[in-house]
Every structure is written in structure tokens, then in C-alpha cells.
Amino acid sequence: MMRTRALSLLFLPFSLLVQAGSEKIDSPRDAFFGEALFYASQDEWFDAISRLDTELKLHHGVDEPQLDQLHYYVNDAEFSVGDFELSYRVHRQAGRAIKAVIEGNVEPEVRNEAIYRLAKIYFQKEQNLNAFHAIERVEGDLPEGLEDDLDYLKGQIYMVNGRFEAAEKIFKSLSGSDEYEGYAGFNQGLSQIAQGSVKAAGLTLDSVGRLNSDDRAVLAMKDRANLTLGSRLMDAGEPQAATQFLERVRLDGPYSNRALLGLGWASASFDDYEKALVPWTILSQRHVTDPAVQNALLGVPYAYGKLGLFGKAALGYGHALSMMNAELDRLDASIASIREGNFLEALVREEIKLDRNWVIKLRELPETPETYYLMDLMASHDFQSSLQNYFDLEQLRKKLERWVDDYAAFEDVIDLRRRYYEPLLPAIDEQFRKLDSLINLRLEQRDRIDRRLQAMLVAPRPDFLATSQERLMMRAIEAAESTDVARSEDGQRRINRLKGVLTWQWETEYHERLTTTFEHLIELDKDIARLNEIYNSFVRTRQAATQSYQGYDQQITHMRQKTERAQATVKTLMLRQGRMLEMMAIDELQKRSQQLEVAQVKARFALAESYDRATMKKSGISSEGMAQQDKPSSEPPTPDQRTPDQRSPGLQQEDAVQPDAAQSDADKLNKPQPDSAKPAAAEVESPITEPPLVEPTQAAAAERGVL
């Protein structure tokens, strides 16, 4: 959002209000700020931050920053750095940058936007109280376009701080917002549930569940609201009412598997196993890695068993067993593959990330079977942030590697320049010194002429403007005065006449000559200006020549050391982060293996029992008699109850208040099963006693099945 704002600010053509002082300034945009935004628009945060940071450093280093173009955008630039840092997930640094803006002398809109960003950082880092205190500081005008974002964040923060009533009001006020269509309603419903207003929550979630939209994220929210309502009703023992909501969930959406499973259970709760077979059969044909599908694989033969079709049930259990065996083998292979490092190698493959849905592509790679199972894990916040860290570290590793080569190239350039300039410069300097003294002499001459002409404006001296020929003539006349010619009266008269002619010319032509002389001086000044230009250019070039190879050695050595230290740190962190990702992935796969093993045991047991029943039925023993013979196993094992994987990422906060989802299958098997015709709603979705928070991006990602 802030990026958008920065862009919009930057490109208001020449009419931007800025905070340089409090003046209104029309100014062209700063090209390097624009360049940073070019990178930011492509999510290349490192380059965006680095470019803008460099520009800000240059700006703060110049003698007259007010003459720099960035002067007009400096606050926005500082702010954008914080924004980009946030996107690059260097939250601590971003927090510092944003706090500096808040404490600076800025307009209320800018300050409020900074507060919004800060509160968001706290919220993302689960510092809920800090987030609350931050968001409460918003006062005065809000930046245009940020109102809904701010309200939505405020609602979320209120929820995590237990202020459900206030949160409900905020989400209600956002009901007309295009951007938060679906999300606000869903969170409003959760706020109402948290307050115990179950009926109102039902109405709210129902309205979300009826939304009309083409937006896939909104459709995902719609599904989620229906699934939540359905699961709550199932839990409340109202499967009939739950059915209508579960049926609203799209068959190709991210929540469809859980809805289909729940629909089957809803029908089963009325002993309508034929109807239950419909959703379960659909579900059982989906990919077996999903726990809901595993449940359906057991659910289908279970329903057949209930319908007395024991032979078909036995075949169904057999099919489930073979599917599970195959998947277990695949899981073992995946775990081995991860341990061999293939998972991390696959993750950093560049060609995959060129595709927007690269995670989907990843799961299609034949050589990385492990990735197939990790879609849910990849959608989790912890895994995502760890994965992103791994990508970032990989990017840093490549950059640092390239920089080390750059330093070597810089040193080569410097060495070449040194070898070129050092032999040349002494001779050039010598020649320059000579020219320099000549130039100084000429400049002094010019100044003397200028002073004399200025004086002549006050005290005219026509003789100063005599031509060289006139001077020679005057000199000859004066020389004649000291000869015998001047002693005669006639000679003296002639000399005087000649003098008079010259003096007449000087006096009568004085003004004209003075003007011409000034014009010549102006022409001379032009030449002198050109001379000065050449002189300065030479000085600059001379300085540049020296500066092109002097004074870099220490800096490059220092930077190389820092780069090498950073390389070592990145290497260590990559190993640790990679190991952590592998551990998370293996853990996930092992959980799935364990679930499958449990289901496998059940399927084996059920298979045996179905065969027994089928055999007994064939030999004419009634099911009643059968039940009397073997009472404890009179009910075939039901499909698994709710497993952690069934829950959506956004609902994971429920874990704290729900009966442990992994109150596991073992317990269920050890205890007598509840009436299998009365399924627990938890199979579909647990009641929400603590509200989950819904981020648009999460739901969108869940919808697309990508990160």
C-alpha cells in the first residue's frame, strides 16, 4: 500500500505537496527514486532498498541538498525505505525507519501511515499489545486510500487483544469494502462467536457464505464461512442444518475435501449411507495424501458395510490398504530424498520460480517426490517465512560471491589506471606549471588594462588610446624636438603642428576609441572565460586522474573483509535454515506416515472383519448372530476423526482451545467409538472458541494452492 502511495506521490506530475519544510514545491521527480520503485514494483526488495539507500546517502552527503532533486521527496524516500524493508522482512530495521518518521516533523497523513506500518509489524511479529498501543496513536487525517486497510488491521489487533465487541463494530463498518469483501464479514462472525453471540454469528457467516463474487480469494472466504458454519452445526448435533452449508462449498475449492467428508458424515448421521457414499466416493478418488481423502477411503467401505455389502466393503478396505501402502512407500522415499538434500536443491531452482505458481510446478517434478506432500506445510506461516529466509540467503550468497569478483575487477581497473597515469603525470604537471604561470601573467595584464580603462572613465587620457603607429609618430616628433630642427622657429612650428594633428585625432576620436577598447576588453573576457573553463577542466581532469586510482586500496580491502565475513555468516545461516526446513518437512511427512499407519491398521482390521462378515453371510449366519458372536468388533472401524491436517492454516489458533487434535487415533481406537452414526463436527471443522484471523493473502494463497 505504501509503495502505491509512494508511486502516486512521485508521479503526480509536477504538482507535488512535499514536506521539505512546509513549502509547496513544484518539482520534477527524482530519477533514482523512480528507479528504486521500478525494482520495488517487481518485488526486488534488496535492489530497491540498496538503490534508495545509496541515493539517500548521496543526498545527505552533498553540500547543498536543497539543490538536489531528492530534496523534494526525501521524507517519502525515507519512508519508502522503511516500507521496502518491511517487504524484505527486515522488520527490526523497518521498525526503526518508521519510528523515525513518526517522531519527525511530518504531516498527520504521513505520521498515521507510519503508525499503521509500525502496528502491522508488531501484529505480524505477534507483539499484540504493542500493536494495540501503536494503532491507538492514530489521530487526525488519514492518507487517502488507507482508511479500510487501517480499519481492518485495527479490527484484527482488537481481536487478538480480546476486544471482540470493538472488533465486531469495525468489521461491520467494513462490510461495504470491496477490498475486504468476505474477510471483514468472516472476522465479524468470529468476533460474534467469541462474544457468545452464536445466532448473530450464524447470520453473519451465512451472509458471507452467500456472497456473489468472481474473486477467487472471496470465493475461498465464502467456502470457509460455509465450512465453519457447517462444522459448528455438526458439532451442535444438527447435521441436517449443516448439510445446506456444506453443500455450498465449491467442489474445486481449497475446502472442498473437508466439506465432502462432512457431507458424508451428515448423511451417515441419518443412517443414509447410500447418500453418504456419494461425497465419500468423490473424495476417495482424490489424492490420497490429503487426510480427508484417507478418511474417505475408509468411509466408502464403511458405508458399504453399513449397507450390508460386506464383500464390497472388504474390496474397498483392500483398495484403501493398497493405496496407503503405496503412499507409505512414497513417503519413505520422500523422507530419504529430503535427507539427501534434494528438497533444498529443488527449492532454489531458478527456472521454477519464473512461474507464478512455482509451488504447483514444484510438486510436479518427478525427481522431488517430497514436495508433493508439502503443500499444506508450505502454506503455513512458519514454513513460508523460513523458506523465504532460505531464498533470501541464497540471493545474498550469490550477490556476495559476485561482489568478491567485482572487487578483483575494481583492483584491476585501479592498477591499469595507475600504470597508465603515473608515468604521464610528472611531464603533464611540469608543462601545466609553465602554462599556469603564463596564464597568471596574462590575467594580470588584463586586470591592469581593465583598471586603467575604468580610471579613464573618470579622468580621460586620450594618449592611452593612441595606436602604435601614433605612438611611434609621437616618439619621432619628440625626438625631433631635441634636434636642431626644433631650434628654428619654422621647425618648432612644424613640430607643434604635427603634435597638434596627433592630439586632435586623440581628442576627437577619444570616445569612439574608448568604446572600441571596452569592446575589445569584453572580447578578451570571453577568451579569458574560455581559458578559465579549459583551466578548470584540466584541473578537474587532473584530479580525476589521481582520484581514479588513489585512495581505494584501503576501502576495497575493508569491504572485501566485510564481504567475506558476511559470506561465512550466510553460509552458516543457510545450512541452519536449510536444516530447519528439512526438519519441518520430514516432521510433516512423518506425521503423515503415522496417520497413514494408523489408518492402515484400521483398514486391516476392517478388512478382516468384512471378510468374516461376508463369509458368515454367505454361510447364512445373520448379522444379529454375528454381533452376538463378536460384540466388541460389531462396528467396523470408522474413518479417522479430525486430524491436524484437516484444519485450514487460518484456523490454527484454535489449537490452543480445542481438544488436542492429535488426541490421536490411538486414543480413539483404545476407547469405545462414539456412535459412528453421530459424527463429531470436529471431523469437518472444530468450533471456533478463539477467533482465527484471516489475511486476504492467506486465503488467496490457500485458494490458489500456492504460497
Binding site: 530519477a31 527490526r92 530495521q93 550477490k399 530447519m580 519441518m584 466388541p632
Partner: protein, 175 residues
């Protein structure tokens, strides 16, 4: 049969109770590592900034530096395929645009397509753009511009304006 079931149940319970072979990753571990990653990112960003400054000083001193920027004023359907730039008759940049780059330009970003060194004085820039208009027509837009390089670093913005293609669709501005 009952005994078999009991054995199976015990086995099943045992398999669930077994600890995972991989150790669980705790929230604290994730957070701790994340903070270290944040630190190294900050360090590398600082090195990058320092390197940018060094590069600018060493390779493109301000008295000879010239940078050419591309910007775009176009609608979403407009497609910019490539740009080619000559300075004083010498080809200095040729760029094929990715989808993301086109989006970034449409969003108002400026692409620095070339940074180099030239002497003070006048220089001729020739620019050519190729692409497809919103109506699907292919176009080639060419223009040239003479800019004067002064003592300070020179910047030239080359703006392609969709609405003016075919009649002076490239606008230059420099400082």
C-alpha cells in the same frame, strides 16, 4: 479375533506414541534464526550501499557520468517488447522487457537502462522502441535527442507515450 484386534490396537497406539525421528522445530528456534537472518540482510544491504557508492565514484565519476532512464505512459494492454539506445552512434543498450518489468514501468517506475561516461559537451542519443499497441498493432518508434553534458552527472529520461506513438511518441527530458 478379539485377541487379534487387541494386538492391532496396541500396535496402533504404540505407533502413534512413538516420537518422530526428526526433532520438532520450535517457534523460538524459528524466531531466533529469523532474527539472525534479518541481521545478515541488514549487513549485506549496508555493504551493497557502500559498493554502489564505490562503484559510482570509481567507474562513473560525476564529471563524466551520464545515466539514461526509461519511463512509460501506457495502459495495461500496451506491450513494450524491446528498447535500443545509441549514444554518439555507438550502441550502448539493448533490452528485452519481461512482463514484470513492463508492469513496473506502467506502475510509474523508472528503469535505468544505461550508465556510462561521456565528455562534457553535446551528445546525440538515438532511441528505438518496439512493441505492440493496445489494439494489437506492432509498432517501432524511433527518435533522437541532443543533450549537453555539463560538469555534474547527467540524467536523461526517455519517456514512451502510448497515446502519441506514430507522432512524436518519445519524449526526452534531461538535467
Amino acid at each position: 479375533m478379539l485377541n487379534v484386534v487387541k494386538v492391532l490396537l496396541l500396535l496402533c497406539a504404540a505407533s502413534v506414541a512413538l516420537p518422530g525421528l526428526a526433532a520438532e522445530v520450535s517457534k523460538e528456534q524459528i524466531k531466533g534464526l529469523d532474527e539472525q537472518v534479518q541481521d545478515i540482510k541488514s549487513d549485506v544491504l549496508a555493504i551493497s550501499t557502500e559498493l554502489n557508492l564505490l562503484e559510482e565514484k570509481l567507474l562513473f565519476p560525476s564529471n563524466t557520468q551520464v545515466s539514461l532512464f526509461i519511463s512509460l505512459a501506457a495502459d495495461d494492454d500496451f506491450q513494450l517488447d524491446a528498447a535500443e539506445i545509441e549514444v554518439d552512434g555507438k550502441l550502448v543498450a539493448h533490452h528485452i522487457y519481461s512482463f514484470k518489468e513492463q508492469e513496473a514501468l506502467r506502475d510509474g517506475g523508472l528503469q535505468r537502462i544505461y550508465t556510462g561516461n561521456v565528455r562534457n559537451g553535446e551528445h546525440l542519443i538515438k532511441v528505438g522502441f518496439k512493441g505492440k499497441s493496445a489494439l494489437g498493432n506492432k509498432f517501432t518508434e524511433v527518435a533522437d535527442y541532443t543533450f549537453s553534458k555539463g560538469v555534474g552527472p547527467g540524467f536523461v529520461e526517455i519517456k514512451l507515450i502510448e497515446s502519441a506513438i506514430g507522432s512524436n511518441g518519445i519524449e526526452f527530458s534531461d538535467r
